[in-house]
């Protein structure tokens, strides 16, 4: 608990923790929604926020607040699957490639480059066309994760490459530290800030990509996610018709979510790195 107390000293951590708790509560609330998210015309259309409909209703005849709970839940599922699976792959590949160099490095980079050079968009669209009927949240998440690791693996590899040449590496090897211990204990702290920032990048990238796919009509638009909610709002010209409660809901939620995640990662990685932890406490 000392850890938590130390973390809470950072105002950024407090803010992000709070926001994320609210988001998780929202996602959890979706279980209690009185309306089926895939049914339309269940409530009067286009009403302003009121006691009965806290955020108003949209042009499909659904309650915006309860739609938002489902949207948050589904977007979280997609992006968490995408980001975590791709992080794991990126770290593994980047570290192994950066450390071992030689042939393993070349083969791994060959594969990662192969994935990087093909315009991602092309593959996604074609995959979406092939998969169409089975497009669920998990499938979409996995599809996105397969393309999210190549870039970051290279970045991590570049960090490892330069760390490899530093004196402490030679020292550790000479004093008999095993490869695994070396990589985990010595390199990880350098890589952690990068891993966290790329995790954030990746979550926002996943949400952004899901939004782009929703805009182009490649995801199932009847499943509420932040992207499809935004897409519906745009299609119904809610900005011109002054229905700001509809358009702004997914935008504000995703912005808050991102800020929260970013500050979370920054404060945690600062805490983990002993030198910056000291900095925070004020020894600078």
């Amino acid at each position: 608990m000392k850890v938590l107390r130390d973390l809470f000293r950072d105002y950024r951590f407090c803010f992000s923790f709070g926001v994320l708790v609210i988001i998780l509560i929202l996602a959890f609330l979706s279980n209690f929604s009185p309306y089926d998210p895939t049914l339309w015309n269940v409530v009067p259309k286009d009403t302003k926020p009121s006691v009965q409909y806290p955020l108003g209703t949209d042009s499909n005849g659904q309650d915006i607040f309860w739609q938002a709970t489902y949207a948050v839940r589904n977007s979280l599922i997609i992006s968490l699957i995408a980001a975590s699976v791709s992080r794991v792959i990126a770290v593994l590949v980047g570290m192994v490639a950066g450390y071992t160099r030689g042939n393993t490095d070349r083969i791994l980079m060959f594969v990662s480059d192969g994935l990087l050079v093909i315009p991602l968009f092309l593959i996604l669209v074609m995959l979406a066309m092939m998969v169409r009927q089975h497009m669920s949240l998990v499938v979409l998440g996995l599809m996105l994760s397969a393309f999210g690791w190549a870039w970051d693996a290279r970045v991590i590899r570049s960090v490892i490459l330069s760390l490899r040449e530093r004196e402490f590496t030679q020292t550790a090897i000479l004093s008999g530290t095993g490869t695994l211990k070396l990589v985990l204990n010595e390199y990880m702290p350098f890589a952690m800030p990068l891993v966290f920032s790329t995790l954030i990048n990746n979550i926002s990238w996943a949400i952004g990509l899901e939004m782009t796919l929703a805009l182009l009509g490649l995801v199932d638009v009847n499943i509420p996610t932040l992207g499809t909610m935004l897409n519906w709002a745009i299609i119904y010209q809610s900005m011109f018709l002054g229905r700001w409660n509809w358009v702004l809901t997914p935008v504000v939620i995703s912005v808050l979510m991102f800020i929260a995640l970013y500050w979370l990662s920054v404060s945690i990685s600062e805490y983990l790195d002993p030198r910056t932890r000291i900095q925070r406490v004020g020894a600078q």
């Binding site: 009927q133 009509g217 490649l218 299609i235 010209q237 011109f240």
Partner: protein, 675 residues
């Protein structure tokens, strides 16, 4: 020329129309100030809590009160003499290639709607045929193996060369010679020879009897156009020829175009009186017309709000947004329902009758009877569409020729529910209920029977879920404990309703509405939206789709050959192969017989044609291979800052779309506001 009574009356009407048009133009010259149309509208006003109905005169075309600073968008074009319209088909992929006879060339960028005159075109608002390069109807010999077409005199191509029968002969012979042309196969199959009898008459000798051969030259959004012989004969490979600039007999010629394909600019030709448009209607008013493609609806709305666009075609909500924000824009109709409701297609639900359980007519009727039409219309189009119970839309001459005469038959039509019970599904009260719901949404519109019929239709089918249940149970379906339907083999009944990815198109609107209804009924239905799904539908890999439930007729003419022929069993291919007929893959011996009968009926004998057509429509209703719901509605917004006197519903002298070929026919009637 030998002509029977019916053809003469059409020509008389056209002559009368031309006279009236000339009179209009003449009177317009006398009154230079822009017209302000006034419309009487019923309005409900609350006076101290109690509603009071009053008749109010509202201006349907508000004059520009505040002279806003419209930005100088155009370099070479004087804005007050230029009309900017939206190009429906979007950005042009091949801007410098205008060879319409090969592949797809974005014909509404000005090619079909400004620069080209076909032999005939049709005004779908009235169903009347308009003579373009032809000078009357074609005549066939007794067994329909020869077709003679009279051509108009005094017409010149826009580079000055006179138009003669030699151009028509050259066109057909060239199409038959090179197989890169889209129309090649059709002409090779049908035409034995084509000759110019004299400078203004062409005679076709056909390989086999074809009473509708001439319709390949009838423009209702595409037809076989006439090539200028003096240009094409110089080309060794006319298929690769880019035909830039386009030379046609229409009143406009090409001015310039954007190499990126965003806009095409046309200029009125000086000898406009040598084009059929000019001969019939007078001088086109806009000196320049620009057709511009937009990638998003938001951009269109913004452009119109800043007066950089005069004609926008939007979605339902786009139109609402435009009218809410713009002081000078108007819709086709001055009041609710605002929409253009005379486009001659009927939208609805298309069953894949080759895939069980949709091969069972009882199942199809059960699905129809489980639809509550008021809710359906509310979800699909917010009650702005006109319903139709038969497979032609409720517009133009159809109510008079088909809908009203068929009312008695429809009311007495029954389906067999089982155990000797029958049920009459037709409900003439549906339009009234839709109107009542629209009023409850706050829309205000007249209460007259004529208006209600035109806006909402004459009737549709009842909401009878209990009968639907009986029909299903009769065929082995059952319900499980959760109230969800199971197929006769016990597995849960899932329906995938296929539509495109543009969610404001009517296939997606019908999909959304139908799926909602069926979900409530207890079927696990879902919308499956796939981009560019024509191939999937053609090979029959779908349950239900939002495609046209019946083929659209030739621009609302009384002859339904085009509608019925698509159900011809000759075009049906097995599942997995691309079928050439309608995608529902339904046919019947009775329908084949009706089609054959219609083929042998003289297309210009309206009474006979309507009689056979009615039989065909009855057969379609009995079997419902596709379900007609509402007529296609378009959402046109006109900005009256620079141009006025649009062909709105209160002044419908012409069909209203700028992407249809008839656009050139209303350019002489537009009035510049002088802004």
């Amino acid at each position: 020329m030998e002509a029977d009574k019916k053809t003469l009356s059409r020509r008389e009407f056209l002559q009368g129309a031309a006279l009236a048009a000339t009179a209009m133009v003449a009177s317009a010259c006398a009154a230079p100030t822009p017209e302000v149309k006034e419309v009487e509208v019923t309005r409900i006003v609350e006076v101290a809590g109690t509603p009071v109905v009053e008749q109010v005169v509202v201006t349907a075309t508000p004059p520009p009160v505040v002279k806003e600073e419209a930005p100088a968008v155009l370099g070479a074009f004087p804005r007050s003499e230029t009309l900017i319209a939206r190009q429906l088909t979007g950005r042009v992929g091949t801007p410098d290639n205008m060879n319409l006879w090969v592949g797809w060339k974005w014909q509404d960028r000005g090619l079909q709607n400004l620069a080209d005159e076909p032999l005939w075109s049709v005004d779908f608002a009235t169903g009347n045929i308009i003579n373009g390069l032809a000078d009357g109807d074609p005549t066939y010999n007794a067994d329909f193996t020869e077709c003679t077409v009279p051509l108009r005199e005094g017409v010149a191509w826009n580079d000055g060369e006179p138009f003669t029968a030699a151009d028509v002969v050259f066109t057909v012979e060239t199409l038959m010679q090179f197989d890169g042309f889209g129309a090649h196969t059709f002409f090779v199959d049908n035409v034995a020879s084509v000759t110019a009898v004299d400078d203004y008459t062409v005679k076709f000798v056909l390989n086999q009897p074809n009473s509708r051969f001439h319709t390949t030259f009838l423009d209702r959004w595409g037809c076989t156009r006439i090539m200028p012989k003096h240009i094409f004969e110089k080309e060794a490979d006319p298929v690769q020829f880019t035909f830039n600039p386009y030379v046609g007999c229409g009143p406009y010629k090409l001015h310039s175009f954007d190499p990126q394909g965003f806009w095409t600019a046309w200029e009125r030709r000086e000898d406009w009186d040598k084009s059929p448009t000019g001969i019939m209607y007078g001088q086109p008013q806009p000196k320049y017309i620009i057709l511009q493609g937009f990638d998003t609806e938001g951009a269109q709305i913004l452009a119109q709000l800043t007066h950089q666009l005069d004609v926008a075609e939007l979605s339902s909500d786009g139109l609402k947004a435009l009218l809410a924000q713009s002081k000078t824009s108007r819709a086709y109709q001055p009041t609710f329902p605002f929409v253009v409701n005379n486009d001659p297609c009927i939208t609805g639900i298309l069953f894949n009758t080759a895939r069980p359980p949709f091969d069972n007519v009882d199942v199809r009727w059960a699905l129809i009877l489980s639809i509550e039409m008021v809710e359906y219309m509310s979800i699909a189009v917010d009650c702005t569409g006109t319903v139709s119970a038969i497979h032609v839309p409720h517009l133009g001459p159809y109510p008079r020729l088909y809908h009203e005469p068929m009312q008695d038959w429809l009311k007495s039509f029954t389906i067999d529910v089982g155990d000797g019970e029958t049920f009459a599904p037709y409900d003439p009260d549906v339009p009234n209920r839709v109107a009542a719901y629209a009023r409850s949404r706050g829309y205000v519109f007249p209460d007259t029977p004529e208006f209600l019929e035109k806006a909402f239709g004459l009737g549709w089918y009842k909401y009878a879920p209990d009968i639907a249940e009986k029909l299903l149970v009769k065929n082995g379906f059952s319900k499980n404990a959760d109230g969800k339907w199971l197929l006769p083999d016990g597995s849960p009944w899932k329906i995938s309703y296929l539509c495109g990815t543009i969610l404001t198109n009517h296939d997606a609107r019908n999909a959304a509405a139908a799926v909602q209804q069926w979900k409530k009924f207890g079927i696990d239905a879902q919308v499956l939206s796939i981009a560019d799904n024509d191939g999937i539908q053609a090979t029959g890999d779908f349950d239900i789709s939002g495609n046209w439930p019946s083929q659209e007729p030739w621009g609302a003419g009384p002859d339904l050959y085009r509608v019925l022929d698509r159900w011809n069993s000759a075009y049906k291919k097995p599942l997995g192969e691309r079928t050439n007929g309608i995608y529902s893959r339904w046919s019947s011996d009775e329908m084949d017989a009706i089609i054959k009968e219609l083929r042998e009926t003289d297309p210009f004998d309206t009474e006979a044609v309507v009689a056979v057509g009615t039989k065909g429509l009855q057969e379609a209703v009995k079997n419902m291979p596709g379900v007609p719901t509402y007529g296609y509605i378009g959402f046109v917004g006109w900005d009256e800052y620079y141009w006025t006197n649009w062909p709105g519903s209160e002044n419908a002298y012409c069909q209203p779309y700028t992407h249809w070929p008839n656009f050139k026919y209303f350019t002489p009637f537009l009035k510049a506001t002088g802004a």
